[in-house]
Subunit: 227 residues, 2 copies
DNA sequence: GATGATTTGTACGTATGTATA
DNA sequence: ATATACATACGTACAAATCAT
């Protein structure tokens, strides 16, 4: 449960990106990927040492993460990886289902021909990876599928808040991907969404996506009970 | 177009709140209320002088505001009050309508008896204020009405992102309140939403709210054209 | 409950990047 | 094209709050 090790701490900044941005992206990634578990403390000085920078950029990165909801900060105390209550998680999953449904409905109406073809290709590729039995690659293909639908909504704000919600939930959806057959079930659910989008049927796309996310929530139920 | 003047810059902090939190709340309020117009630069040193603090808490406050979308930051250049494109604004209004509709539908199903009664009272008070011809008080009553519905959803996450979206849009909804008769129209629209919520009709509540927000968007159209 | 150790909150100086003349 | 102005990005020092003993 550690940060990924960093390269030589180049003195001022690195290639056009500020240290704050680098730290924020790295820590966010560690949380989203599950390398930093909910409830784990994030001490400024420790992180600063680890990356070879001062506390200033670390503080700013942590503040950004708090604003995005990935961590919680308490006055004069260490920040923690966010650990929402079961009740709040349930609410977040409900919102997630509705936001994804909105994206799917918008995508059905707004996607270009090229985007529709790319979506079909992503879906086919997802199926191939599942048959190959590679859960990590399958997971990544799944993410790309959903992200393509967000972008297909042609509504940047909607895409942003949907992605942000997805990222905030990802530490709590991890358990699902360990379950055998979960990816195959997801693929079947995706198929209904793809079909609806390709025939420009917004309501069906929304319903299909809503059902898909609801299934994901059910799969996570046991995990939440353990909190 | 200035910051509201501050009281004596008490040295360390004031009453349990950090300077960063105070600055963030104050500047956010100035943007939401329209005292700081979109595109206006926010210089760290200038704000620090104005509030009698160092640049450090100002930087952190500005970073929070950027994360919440109220301002934009550019590397090594002054931050600006957010000035979204017309296209992005349109997307934000669409999302706003859907989020408010979700809140209304959830409120129809989840509100307690006390909350329903409070909502009816708020709606009645709104009508009284409009007849009294006080646009500022009417505006505030309107805000309270919407906020009561967010809370009535009993979904904190949904309430938070809906409120955040509302706040980000508020600088661009200002024009509407100048229009004569707009508040009376809003009141009539609210009535349909209240009726639906009171009889626990979620779909009707959602439809009523969606139509209400769409009307608001139309009213703002001319303003966006001027950008 | 008091005290020392630890950690966050703020101040301030310097270096670096961006824009403009 | 170079220089100059200007605002941010980061480092460092200290103050204040929290925690542990």
């Amino acid at each position: 449960m550690e940060f990924k090790t960093r390269d030589p701490p180049a003195r001022p900044v690195l290639a056009g990106r500020t240290w704050t941005a680098t730290l924020r992206a790295t820590i966010a990634d560690d949380i989203i990927r599950g390398h930093l578990a909910p409830g784990m403390p994030l001490e400024e000085a420790e992180i600063a040492r680890r990356f070879g920078v001062s506390r200033t950029p670390v503080r700013e990165a942590l503040r950004d993460l708090a604003a995005s909801g990935l961590i919680e900060t308490r006055s004069h105390r260490s920040a923690l990886v966010a650990r929402p209550s079961a009740e709040r998680l349930r609410g977040m999953f409900e919102v997630m289902a509705e936001l994804e449904a909105l994206c799917a409905a918008a995508a059905a109406g707004q996607m270009t021909a090229a985007e529709r073809e790319a979506l079909r290709a992503l879906h086919a590729g997802f199926g191939t990876l599942i048959q190959a039995g590679d859960p990590q690659a399958g997971h990544e293909a799944n993410e790309r599928f959903h992200t393509a639908i967000y972008a297909g909504s042609h509504n940047d704000y909607l895409a942003e808040i949907t992605l942000a919600t997805r990222e905030r939930l990802s530490p709590f959806r991890r358990a699902q991907f360990r379950a055998e057959g979960q990816l195959a079930l997801s693929h079947a659910e995706h198929g209904r969404v793809v079909d609806a989008i390709l025939r420009r049927d917004g309501p069906a796309a929304a319903a299909g996506m809503r059902a898909h996310i609801a299934i994901v929530e059910t799969a996570y139920g046991r995990y939440a009970g353990a909190l």
